[in-house]
């Protein structure tokens, strides 16, 4: 339908122009394709598009620009900042920003806006945790100083993700009327339905090819129906749906660190509880032999084929293929013989012939909890359980809702999924936990050597210098939290994110995507074009 209008819209003026003898515009019109894209990739933020509350931390911040950004290979490159350094024992960031940058309403962007954004975000109580920020100050129009309470290199993540807002316009309704210095500006937002954005002609980074974007916020089934009706150019679909054909669209598969894995409780059950009364510990998974045996027995390739329909790749760590991933932690899996050897050596034998091994009168049995609403996690839990049976470990999958899982997480194996573009996640999952860790190291894993590497990594003088420390925390040749070491988790798979895109659309090279399927594909949207 759209094409017919376009055709008429192009042909009729052309004929008129031809009649008046103007042929120059005819040539031009013949090559013109619509510069509008319709996307159904989610991304609606009910509370509005306010970066100080955490909008834009995945994918393109769209209306905003950030001090630094990550390129397609996840290297840190400048955006608003032209120079940055970390001084004063890693406690002070000194950042110089571009001159002559303006917001989409024409007002200038100065260092004062940057300082305002950081100070506001720290106090706002949103999804960004800037509690380590002491104070941000603008020392000149183009220079801003961020003072930290403690040295922490992972703070750089906020330089990469926090979109700069104009101090003057920023009020409680800002999220519904965002004004920024990014490639696009908001035209209108019909809450719960769609968002229309247009190219920001004042953007300093070069004009995007697509002048107008329509984001449709609809459930997957509805969006799929709209795509079949030819109304959508980019559609995020779960991998279960990826096998079908949609006329005029092709499948675009993006690798991700959107991982799924089994968290093991590391402490034995001594009746201890957290301050809130949640039980801690599991006698079976407290044995490193069990944890290693699970890791070796599971066939991750089979999980990818069987559960993910092939849209994924085996996972061995929390940050596979990210710059801080240690390749030495890979091992040969799907190896039940090795699992059996480990178990027997540790004293787990099947003495009563029921197919399940015992040690000191304890059966090698544990529960795998998974979010009951997530079919993928259910599939993983069941498949893993089947793979463990032959080696004599009984793993009982049990679906629960999150609030129930939260109460039992310190005493049971749980299928979790994480995967972000910051090594802070690694720290949260593996550093010795506080008394009430919740999801942060729910298994109470603790290794002083790993702790020291993680602490050193955070105190590093630059992001590049922190990387060897992150790698050593995983495995330093002797110890580490990964499978050659303490095997604190059994990571299973990294999902592939599947999209249907218009056959003519060129989306360039997509970043390795974080947890969250949909919006992250917009990371390089200002470089998309028609083929």
């Amino acid at each position: 339908m759209k094409r017919i209008y376009l055709f008429l819209g192009v042909m009729i003026p052309c004929l008129l122009l031809l009649a008046t003898g103007c042929d120059r515009s005819e040539k031009k019109a013949a090559y013109q394709k619509p510069k509008t894209l319709t996307l159904a990739v989610g991304g609606e933020k009910a509370e509005g598009f306010d970066p100080t509350l955490g909008w834009g931390s995945y994918g393109s911040p769209l209306f905003f620009s950030t001090l630094l950004k990550r390129d397609a290979d996840l290297n840190i490159v400048p955006d608003l900042a032209t120079a940055w350094k970390l001084v004063d024992n890693q406690l002070t960031w000194i950042i110089t920003i571009r001159r002559a940058v303006v917001f989409s309403d024409g007002s200038p962007l100065s260092a004062a806006d940057v300082a305002y954004t950081f100070n506001t975000a720290a106090a706002a109580g949103g999804m960004l945790d800037l509690s380590n920020l002491q104070r941000a100050e603008a020392v000149s129009d183009t220079k801003v100083v961020l003072r930290l309470k403690q040295p922490d290199i992972t703070f750089i993540q906020y330089l990469i993700t926090l979109g700069i807002v104009p101090a003057r316009q920023h009020d409680s309704g800002f999220g519904r009327h965002p004004v920024g210095s990014g490639p696009y500006k908001l035209v209108r937002w019909d809450e719960g339905q769609q968002m229309i954005v247009a190219a920001n002609e004042r953007y300093y980074g070069g004009q995007p090819f697509f002048k107008r974007l329509v984001f449709l916020f609809a459930a997957e089934d509805t969006a799929l129906a709209a795509a079949r009706a030819g109304q959508i150019d980019v559609l995020a679909v779960s991998s279960v749906m990826a096998a079908q054909k949609i006329p005029g669209m092709k499948l675009h598969v993006v690798k991700s660190v959107d991982n799924r894995g089994l968290m093991f409780p590391i402490l034995p059950n001594t009746g201890k509880r957290t301050p809130r009364g949640l039980p801690i510990g599991n006698d079976v998974t407290a044995d490193i032999a069990i944890r290693k045996a699970v890791n070796y027995a599971v066939d991750r390739k089979a999980l990818v084929t069987g559960v993910l329909d092939g849209y994924g790749r085996p996972a061995f760590g929390v940050a596979d293929n990210l710059p801080w991933d240690n390749p030495q932690i890979r091992f040969k899996d799907g190896d039940p013989e090795r699992a059996v050897k480990i178990l027997e050596k540790a004293g787990w034998v099947d003495s009563n012939g029921d197919g399940i091994r015992e040690k000191d009168g304890k059966e090698a049995e544990f529960t795998i909890l998974y979010n009951v609403r997530d079919r993928l996690r259910q599939g993983l839990a069941i498949a893993v359980s089947d793979m463990l049976k032959p080696v004599g470990i009984k793993a009982v999958p049990r679906g629960e809702n999150w609030d129930r899982i939260k109460k039992e997480t310190h005493a049971n194996v749980v299928v979790y999924g994480f995967g972000g573009h910051t090594p802070l996640e690694m720290y949260s999952l593996y550093h010795s936990p506080g008394p009430e860790p919740m999801y942060r190291n729910a298994g109470f894993y603790s290794n002083p050597v790993v702790d020291s590497y993680l602490d050193q990594a955070r105190k590093a003088a630059s992001f590049a210098e922190s990387i060897p420390m992150w790698k050593k925390a995983q495995w330093d040749g002797k110890t580490g939290f990964s499978v050659p070491g303490d095997a604190a988790w059994a990571w299973l798979v990294n999902l592939d994110h599947t999209y249907f895109i218009n056959q003519r659309l060129n989306v360039g090279k997509s970043q390795m995507e974080p947890h969250g399927h949909g919006w992250p594909i917009t990371a390089n949207i200002d470089q998309w074009k028609w083929n």
């Binding site: 409680s172 309704g173 999220g175 719960g192 229309i196 089934d221 972000g420 949260s428 947890h515």
Partner: protein, 330 residues
């Protein structure tokens, strides 16, 4: 005149009591819900949020205080007409509701009128020709619909009319990429069509079955038999004798179904991605947004209560006997 004032006074007192009871009850229910709003808010980014930051978020929403204190603060604001600020939408609850109510209102109003008129007509027809082929057809339809979930009907209609036939749009309240004021009234009606049909199809069942029963009763009554003895045709008896007697229970039922309509709209809006109050309710529930959920509960209480009161009022207009009863008791 005095009766009307008394009627209104009684109704208002009852409404106030009802609101107080509903407010307390729903607050107790919601604050005992296992959903942690901070977890729901942070999602997978939870690992990057330290316990200190959790406290800051909880403070912003006021969920760090004990339930009784929260209730008193909330109730105190409510008395002054302030419904509080929605946690997930980060804007005043009344703004959130009013934006969505208009969209939902048209959907519900149309569905309600269609299902009422059609259901009444079908019920009368079925009842008047009891046992006939047409009665059986209507009955089978009504029983089937009475036991079919709304969302399922919605999905089937969507598959047939939007995907296979492309007669109706797949989603939204107006065409994708257009703004509300660019869309013509026809486009908006076009987008309303399928959700309205879904809701109506389901809503018809109950009123049809009840009207049918009442019509059969009326057709067997002395006055109907007498009329027939005088040579009145079946249609004549239905139109002149039965309708007025059947109308009363139908009105009660139709107004009492406002509550169900609300529930049905929640599901239909989910299926058709229609951005009304129903979707906001679901989001508020999943996100543990107490002020918004309570706001919606209260508004819908008033809505349903008003509906029932209108029914009470209409009785007195439709049925002269009710006026007498009300009059004699004063």
């Amino acid at each position: 005149m005095f009766t009307i004032i008394k009627f209104l006074f009684l109704k208002t007192t009852r409404l106030a009591l009802l609101i107080a009871a509903v407010a307390v009850l729903s607050f107790v229910l919601v604050s005992n819900s296992p959903i942690d709003p901070v977890d729901a808010y942070a999602g997978a980014a939870i690992l990057n949020i330290s316990p200190e930051q959790r406290d800051i978020i909880a403070q912003r929403w006021g969920v760090d205080k004990p339930p009784i204190e929260r209730f008193l603060t909330w109730a105190g604001q409510l008395v002054q007409g302030d419904f509080g600020v929605s946690a997930i939408f980060n804007e005043p609850v009344l703004d959130v509701i009013s934006k969505r109510f208009i969209t939902s209102f048209w959907l519900m109003a149309l569905a309600w009128s269609f299902s009422g008129a059609l259901g009444f007509g079908l019920g009368l027809t079925a009842g008047a020709w009891e046992g006939s082929l047409i009665d059986r057809g209507i009955r089978i339809y009504a029983y089937t619909m009475a036991s079919t979930p709304t969302f399922w009907v919605g999905i089937v209609l969507l598959m047939v009319f939007s995907v296979f036939l492309s007669w109706t749009p797949t989603c939204c309240a107006w065409p994708i990429g257009m703004s509300a004021d660019q869309a013509t009234i026809w486009q908006r009606l076009h987008h309303l069509l399928l959700p309205v049909i879904t809701l109506s199809l389901i809503g018809i069942a109950k009123i049809t079955l009840h009207t049918r029963e009442k019509t059969i009763e009326a057709m067997h009554s002395d006055y109907a038999i007498f009329a027939r003895a005088q040579g009145e045709s079946t249609i004549g008896i239905v139109l002149r004798q039965a309708v007025r007697n059947v109308a009363l229970p139908a009105v009660t039922l139709q107004f009492a179904s406002l509550g169900e309509l609300f529930g049905g709209a929640v599901l239909a809006e989910q299926v058709f991605a229609y951005p009304g109050l129903g979707r906001a309710t679901v989001e508020a529930g999943i996100g543990g947004d107490v002020p918004l959920l309570l706001g919606i509960v209260l508004i819908s209480t008033v809505f349903v209560f008003t509906g029932n009161s209108v029914a009470d009022f209409i009785y007195q207009l439709v049925d002269p006997r009710m006026r007498k009863v009300a009059g004699s008791s004063s």
